[in-house]
Point group: C2
Chain length 354, copies 2
């Protein structure tokens, strides 16, 4: 007798844990899935106990998602190879700097079942001078299985608290999207699906660079006209960036949670905006390092590094003129340009062509 597909969440941070929770609420509802949801835990000791043991005994990820009760059908497994060989569906939700090494490790086990599927929840893409690459491609190529992407305006803690949110799944094959929509859609977490996997990932990755620009507006004391203009220009630049580097871009994604909604959330609040406002308030004279120390307890900003990576890509492809917001944001953040340059860049006598 055929049994349901077993789901594995690869990653046990706050987003991985929140996702394991909602997926584990769904698996018992559909015959397509095995009830048990495995969560791969990179083992560590927390308050004197193994994290996997805490999750399996207390049904709570006390380190990364404290205060949230997890369903009892979540099984924490600290052995990656075992996770892979026991599962059919992989939800990849690890910090972006570990994707390549984790995928290589999974590949090396050589235990992946044929017919397996993956979905990428990592917010980030590979951006170097030479490479502009979505992790879905890496996963598909290295593991030889189809990989979809999910992104949206999702603060992990709030999703875990079942505060109403939306997210977007990008797909190539509609049947896979149907399956993953069932897996992820909850009354408090509504899923829309759009064709194409790249745009979903590009928006999720690059919105943080726009948030830096939006924060500069705040720090300069500019009002909502200006901030809305910068966010709008940013939305357009992300979309154009996606179109320049990927073939499967569908305009619909802009209207979805992974597009406009995630950009709005990210530019209105959040650490990138707050730190960039602080930077602009000090006329760019206070270092990012000091700001991170003071405001984030030393944690690193995502937006500034994205900004740098995007800039390098644009230079390597001779595209600086097509992305004025990304370029000026980089120049302010890293090249000593005055924060007010952000606005001067767009305040010109030249009429926009149409």
């Amino acid at each position: 007798m055929a049994t349901g597909k077993k789901v594995c969440v690869v990653g046990c941070g706050n987003w991985g844990s929140a996702v394991a929770k909602l997926v584990a609420e769904n698996t018992p509802r559909y015959p397509e899935f095995d009830d048990t949801v495995i969560i791969y835990v990179l083992e560590e000791v927390f308050e004197g106990r193994n994290l996997s043991e805490i999750i399996n005994t207390d049904h709570e990820n006390k380190k990364y998602l404290p205060g949230i009760k997890l369903p009892h059908n979540i099984l924490a497994v600290p052995d990656l190879k075992q996770c892979i060989q026991d599962s059919d569906i992989f939800i990849i939700v690890i910090p972006h700097q570990f994707v390549n090494s984790t995928v290589a490790k999974i590949k090396s086990f050589n235990v992946m079942k044929p017919g397996s599927l993956a979905i990428n929840l990592v917010k980030g893409i590979e951006l170097t001078e030479k490479v502009v690459n979505c992790f879905t491609d890496t996963i598909e190529k290295e593991l030889g299985i189809p990989c979809l992407a999910l992104s949206g305006a999702n603060v992990a803690k709030n999703v875990a608290m079942e505060e109403f949110s939306e997210a977007t799944i990008g797909y190539k094959n509609k049947e896979h999207a149907v399956l993953f929509q069932r897996l992820f859609d909850r009354p408090y977490f509504k899923i829309n699906c759009v064709p194409g996997v790249s745009a979903v990932q590009v928006f999720g990755a690059i919105k943080n660079a726009v948030a830096i620009a939006a924060g500069f507006c705040d720090g300069l004391g500019l009002g909502s006209n200006t901030k809305a203009a910068i966010m709008r220009i940013g939305l357009n630049e992300i979309y154009r960036f996606a179109c320049k580097f990927f073939k499967d871009i569908n305009t619909d994604v802009v209207f979805e949670s992974a597009g406009v909604a995630d950009l709005i959330t990210t530019c209105i609040g959040g650490r990138n905006v707050r730190c960039a406002a602080e930077f602009a308030k000090h006329g760019g004279k206070k270092s990012w390092h000091d700001i991170e120390n003071e405001m984030l307890g030393g944690q690193k900003l995502q937006g500034t590094s994205t900004c740098e990576e995007v800039y390098k890509v644009l230079v390597a492809h001779n595209m600086e003129n097509d992305f004025p917001l990304f370029v000026v944001t980089y120049n302010i953040a890293f090249q000593g340009a005055e924060p007010a340059e952000l606005i001067r860049k767009f305040s010109n006598e030249t009429l926009n062509p149409f």
Copy 2:
């Protein structure tokens, strides 16, 4: 010798005055335009003097845009007929409830020059059970001249203070758009043009209903995931509403200032959001009348009446099911539904079709 076209701003409120200012900065720069910009002033006495005299002598609209110096080539004229017969280009920027009567009056003078052009800056459209109509259509039909539309994320005062903003012109005829872009584009007020006049107006009018829903989120104490979701759903409903009732809708407008940027500004701050938050905080038990009295000094909210008008249109066309956000917002605002119904409406087990 051919002389330049004379521009008349019909309306002298804060937005009319701010627009007269920027247009009057441009007219001397282009041979297409006569330097002088006429502003039609519905005469009234302010601090013992006629408003038109104040504008012409002090070069400031002390009643509606105090503190902003106006260019000396602005001429306030209190006689509408004279304004019309002396001008070739009309910028209509009056409260929406006066558009029909003003247009009828202009028509009755029978002094409109052939070849004249108009552009509509009124934020509002006609919405009754039977009629869904953009003012550009009224103006074109009644006056027999082409009419474009301009809208954007523009707080009048901030534009007058030359804080960087953007706006969108919707056009049917590209040549006209070129002319109006020259007329309006300033380094601090950048104009993009999109084909089609309706979408620009529909967004400008209906975004306020979405702002009421966004305000409910704030009042309910919900976080950014939820507010971003509601704004996103609202953006989509405005766009779909435009497509249902007008033929000339181009998706591009969503990416423009009149689309996403204006919606963002309106839903983040502003009176509609603040008052709706107050309404939700009191569980819908405090009347709009009391809220307007307390928070707006008795001025009326735009968003609530838009909400009501949109609802009536949807009912008359049997379209309630296609616009759940508009409907639930109306039910909360006017039918005693609990504010939390806003979220419950979207929190269902049903998967979104795709």
